[in-house]
């Protein structure tokens, strides 16, 4: 008997580094590593040379110097004496605010449109198809520019709201009126809304260099606690139902638990609304919602809603007919079929792409540059960059912040995926 001897010879030849699959991967990785390091050192070397040639240094010290510019929308206290770091924080919060509000609007609108697109009603499903196709196939920049232009060009100037004594005497009406019984005024630069104010507020909390509004904090704590109490009440009712078959009436109790503590707190703080009032040239008081914010957020929400609608539609369609039929066979009514059988399964399909849409929306808030909304790019990557000339530092810091937000959101998504993953075999 003859055996085929195909075990490789032990002697190592140089050619085996290329031709032997056992060693080739090591060769390739070494080449890649060398090329990568060479590329990196080339970049760093160029940067050092360029910085030296421009007589610049690479340090982030400028972040603690005086910013010296104003920001028209600040969620935390900020003046032009604050530092560049503070300005960047204000910008970051503006970015997050726009992203957060945009995501909420986009979700509601997207689910609504996605469900209606599956409707048996021919007219409504066609209308929704038109919406989705139109919004998906046109650049989001167009929607932002259009929203901003329409808001600023079709609305009256603040002076149109003014009622002078001469006009009163002549019995003339001003050109523009405030909406909702004199509480909301839409001018060509902002929306003036009633502002929630408290009479005897709690002092601000200083915490790790951050200054927190303790009124909002107190409200959030009380409201969160009442939601938790409501949850306890409902789970107790479920337990009673499972034991006795009879569910105790809970609706008025949960309504009371949800509303009374918050209302009591607001009353104790002396909550009232501050209405915007027309003074000589502009509105005073109230809360000013800049059109730049509205246009950006609304346009991003409308655009993203079209994508979310497609995700929702695909998610519902991904559930096989058998699931509907099985639920019907169990005797479940259509509403309960949806909430107990279809949606829990559809959500598993819907949520991962939904979160990546949230991510896209958050990144797209950087288009604030089109409407001069002071987001992270407008403060850190805009005025701070231009004032200090620290292009490298500002851009790197900005990229790092965006990257952190993205990685945070996508790691949340991974956690969720792991939690809802089908446990197979």
């Amino acid at each position: 008997m003859a055996f085929v001897q195909d075990t490789p010879k032990d002697s190592f030849r140089l050619g085996m580094l290329i031709y032997d699959t056992r060693y080739r991967s090591i060769t390739i990785q070494v080449i890649v590593l060398v090329l990568f390091l060479a590329f990196l050192s080339w970049l760093v070397n160029n940067t050092i040379e360029n910085l030296a040639a421009k007589d610049r240094t690479f340090d982030f010290g400028f972040l603690w110097s005086r910013a010296g510019y104003d920001i028209n929308q600040t969620l935390i206290p900020y003046t032009n004496d604050s530092t560049h770091m503070r300005a960047a924080m204000v910008g970051l919060l503006n970015t997050l605010l726009s992203a957060f509000v945009g995501c909420i609007i986009a979700t509601f609108l997207g689910v609504f449109i996605g469900v209606l697109r599956l409707s048996k009603n021919w007219l409504v499903s066609r209308l929704m198809t038109v919406y989705v196709e139109v919004f998906r196939n046109v650049p989001v920049l167009l929607w932002i520019l259009l929203a901003s232009t329409v808001l600023s060009e079709t609305t009256p100037a603040p002076s149109d709201f003014r009622v002078t004594e001469a006009m009163q005497a002549a019995g003339e009406q001003p050109k523009a009126h405030m909406l909702f019984n004199g509480s909301v005024a839409i001018t060509n630069r902002s929306m003036n809304l009633p502002a929630p104010l408290v009479e005897h507020g709690l002092p601000r909390l200083e915490f790790l260099g951050l200054s927190l509004n303790s009124n909002v904090l107190a409200f959030l704590i009380v409201f969160g606690a009442s939601i938790y109490a409501n949850h306890l009440l409902r789970s107790n009712a479920r337990r009673v139902q499972e034991q006795t078959g009879r569910r105790p009436v809970t609706w008025w109790k949960s309504l009371a638990i949800l509303l009374i503590p918050s209302a009591a707190l607001l009353f104790a703080l002396g909550f009232h609304l501050d209405y915007p009032v027309m003074t000589k040239f502009n509105f005073r008081g109230g809360m000013e919602l800049l059109h730049s914010f509205t246009a950006l957020t609304l346009a991003l929400a409308l655009y993203t809603a079209a994508f979310i609608a497609e995700i929702v539609r695909a998610g519902i369609m991904a559930i096989s007919r058998g699931q509907h039929e099985a639920a019907a066979a169990l005797g479940l009514r259509p509403g309960r079929t949806m909430s107990l059988v279809i949606l829990p399964q559809a959500l598993r399909v819907i949520i991962p792409p939904l979160i990546s849409q949230y991510l896209n929306l958050t990144k797209n808030t950087s288009l604030a540059i089109a409407v001069s909304y002071m987001d992270l790019r407008g403060t850190l990557g805009g005025i701070t960059l231009n004032q200090t000339g620290k292009e490298l530092e500002c851009m790197l810091l900005m990229m790092a912040i965006y990257l952190t937000i993205s990685l945070l959101i996508s790691s949340l998504m991974n956690l969720f995926n792991r939690a809802v993953k089908l446990k197979e075999r």
């Binding site: 209606l116 196709e133 520019l145 292009e391 965006y402």
Partner: protein, 435 residues
């Protein structure tokens, strides 16, 4: 006793039409629009929405004015024709400025060059889009980038020709060495030879030939590009370059080699984690730090490179999804046939993985094409913001806003919608399962 003769019908009656409420448009409307109180309410709301939109848009579109020289003149014509309260579109702006929307500030007497390049582009991409066309047309497709570059930017013809010779050199070295040294070494040496050619020989040689044989077109600067010319140049180049790069990145992410995998993951996650705007600003502000001093290369090229990197990371993720969806048996079958890595990828894995990922790839392409409008923020004249700002800065067209956005938006819509329909057609055509 009378005899009953049972009545027996001998001939069939003509079939009668269903009652009026059970046929035709009424039946359709009852089933599709008014099948229940909920449905009826929805239909009515839908009708109200459509009527509201139509009442605002139809008169505006019908009153459109094409012949005027300014917005005020437009408004006067509309008031004169349709009454003082009438509104109407002022398409005269489009008639006067369409060339800027299409070509930007490209010299007017040279409009034939981008037009010819566009027509040739359609010829070049035809064999890629439709498999039934003769395969020989691919040779033209391979040559097209050089033709296009020369037509658009002009300059001496020898520059693209000498670049092309570099590819020839690569093929020559590969051919000569492949029998003796095998594929990896000869390809590597060929690449080194071609790189040396491009870095060292390229510029002096093309200048030398040009001085002897000056053949060329008038050169056009990058800052004269604008409008849809710019969008299509950036979009098409980035689309063509990002697909192969995305495939390589996806393979790198699935690779067994730890270092290759780590680098691919790092690159993909970094690019996907930052907004495109920051990358564009990198192109315009930071590349001057990263490149050797005194290098100053074209802004459009810089933008194209960054946009390509951006799209490649997204396409890599889409293709990774396709690779993951492929059953393991396919990989094992390829191994069992004795195919090596690249053969298996080329013959077994990629054709199937790409087919699965067609919808995702095309929607990345659509996203990329839409994102070309963002180049407005690094000072280029994109059709949406750049050219519209130019038009609106003109005293004649100050205050016009619906018309330019509708015009540019409709063109974007047609291109993107066409792309998505093509991908659906391709998906149906390539479908091999019989469900």
């Amino acid at each position: 006793m009378t005899e009953f003769t049972p009545f027996v019908r001998t001939d069939m009656l003509e079939q009668r039409e269903p009652p009026a409420g059970q046929r035709g448009i009424i039946l359709w409307a009852r089933e599709n629009l008014f099948s229940g109180p909920m449905n009826t309410a929805l239909s009515l709301i839908g009708l109200v929405v459509i009527l509201w939109l139509a009442s605002h848009m139809v008169p505006w579109l019908l009153h459109g004015v094409w012949n005027a020289n300014s917005l005020t003149e437009c408004r006067e014509i509309i008031t004169a024709t349709w009454g003082p309260d009438a509104t109407g579109a002022c398409w005269a702006m489009v008639r006067e400025r369409w060339h800027q929307y299409v070509f930007g500030f490209y010299p007017m007497d040279l409009y034939w060059r981008p037009t010819l390049a566009f027509v040739l582009m359609l010829v070049a991409i035809a064999p890629i889009l439709y498999q039934s066309l003769p395969r020989q047309m691919m040779w033209f497709t391979a040559l097209y980038p050089f033709v296009c570059y020369w037509l658009l930017w002009g300059g001496t013809i020898w520059a693209p020709v000498v670049v092309l010779m570099g590819f020839g050199l690569f093929a020559l070295v590969f051919r000569l060495l492949v029998s003796g040294l095998g594929v990896p070494v000869s390809a590597g040496l060929g690449l080194v030879a071609a790189a040396a050619w491009w870095l060292l020989v390229q510029t002096p040689l093309s200048a030398a030939i040009h001085s002897v044989l000056p053949v060329g077109l008038r050169s056009v600067d990058s800052d004269q590009f604008g409008g849809f010319l710019l969008s299509i140049v950036i979009g098409v180049t980035a689309i063509a370059a990002s697909l192969p790069m995305g495939i390589l990145l996806a393979l790198g992410r699935k690779s067994d080699m730890m270092l290759v995998r780590t680098l691919s993951v790092g690159f993909i996650e970094f690019i996907r984690g930052v907004p495109l705007i920051t990358l564009l600003f990198t192109a315009s502000l930071l590349l001057q730090y990263f490149l050797p001093p005194e290098t100053n290369f074209d802004i459009i090229l810089r933008v194209i490179i960054l946009v390509t990197l951006f799209a490649a990371a997204y396409i890599a993720e889409v293709i990774r999804g396709g690779l993951a969806a492929l059953p393991r048996g396919q990989y094992e079958a390829a191994d069992a046939l004795g195919l090596d890595y690249w053969q298996a990828q080329r013959l077994i894995i990629m054709p199937q993985a790409l087919k699965i990922s067609i919808p995702g790839i095309v929607s990345s392409f659509i996203g990329l094409f839409k994102d070309t409008t963002l180049v407005a923020f690094v000072g280029l004249q994109d059709p949406l913001k750049g050219i519209t700002a130019v038009v609106r800065a003109d005293i004649n067209w100050k205050g016009i806003y619906w018309e330019p956005y509708i015009f540019a938006g409709v063109i974007f819509f047609l291109i993107c919608f066409g792309m998505s329909r093509y991908s659906m057609w391709l998906e149906r055509k390539l479908k091999t399962d019989h469900r």
